[in-house]
């Protein structure tokens, strides 16, 4: 299940939802707002998203992970709005029978989420400037 939220991500509640007596490995990735990007000191971040399509595409990414690695529980929640340093911008959790699938599926989901979903990030710098962040794939 993929969701967007304008509120603080409740990581405890998400972890509880992932529990499963058949799961032996649980892998989580969280993206946190850093105080620095490419030499700029960041004050805060702003996420804009086109939610209807972000949710459709996010659900598709999770379904793909579940097809590649059957029998896993997977969930991702992404923030919108204004975020401060240290805030959790995205949470991905995968519970699987074994750790290998848990790690690989978690990595697959965050990698695809970052390049496929209509979500944009504007950095507000301590200098007063701001800028839209280029996509990872564009930079590489």
């Amino acid at each position: 299940m993929f969701a967007m939220t304008g509120q603080t991500i409740d990581v405890d509640a998400l972890r509880t939802q992932m529990q499963d007596p058949g799961a032996g490995g649980f892998c989580v990735f969280e993206g946190w707002v850093r105080n620095e990007n490419e030499g700029h000191t960041v004050a805060r971040l702003e996420y804009e998203a086109y939610e209807p399509l972000a949710v459709t595409e996010g659900d598709k990414v999770i379904a793909e992970a579940q097809q590649k690695f059957p029998h896993l529980k997977a969930c991702c929640v992404h923030r919108t709005g204004l975020l401060e340093i240290g805030d959790c911008a995205v949470w991905v959790g995968v519970a699987a029978a074994h750790r290998d699938e848990a790690f690989l599926a978690c990595r697959y989901i965050i990698d695809e989420i970052k390049i496929r979903l209509p979500i944009w990030k504007k950095e507000h710098y301590v200098s007063g400037d701001s800028g839209w962040v280029n996509c990872e794939r564009c930079a590489s």
Binding site: G31, Y47, E48, A49, Y50, P52, L53, A54, T56, E57, H78, A89, V90, I110, I113, K114, I115, R116, L117, P118, I119, W120, K121, K122, W132, V133, N134, C135, E136, R137, C138
Partner: protein, 80 residues
């Protein structure tokens, strides 16, 4: 001529100064819409870095444009 709605997001919206506008166009494909509105969205990004959706479905740049379509122009995404 067709009448379509074009929606801009993030830096495209800021550049265009509006989130949405109605266009009369003879654009055949999504790429034509991107080119026709380049002055508005102000993008110097290669097309391959941007994305397009038509009527709330992700689309390709060579997807055809029909009268009444809502075309969403997405600058380079950066989730996570």
């Amino acid at each position: 001529m067709k009448t379509i709605t074009v929606r801009y997001f993030a830096i495209f919206r800021e550049n265009a100064g509006v989130g949405e506008e109605t266009l009369e166009t003879d654009a055949a494909t999504a790429a034509d819409v991107f080119a026709a509105t380049r002055d508005r969205h102000g993008s110097s990004e290669p097309l391959g870095h941007c994305k397009v959706a038509i009527n709330d479905e992700m689309a390709d740049w060579d997807s055809s444009i029909n009268d009444g379509d809502v075309v969403l122009l997405f600058p380079p995404v950066a989730g996570g």
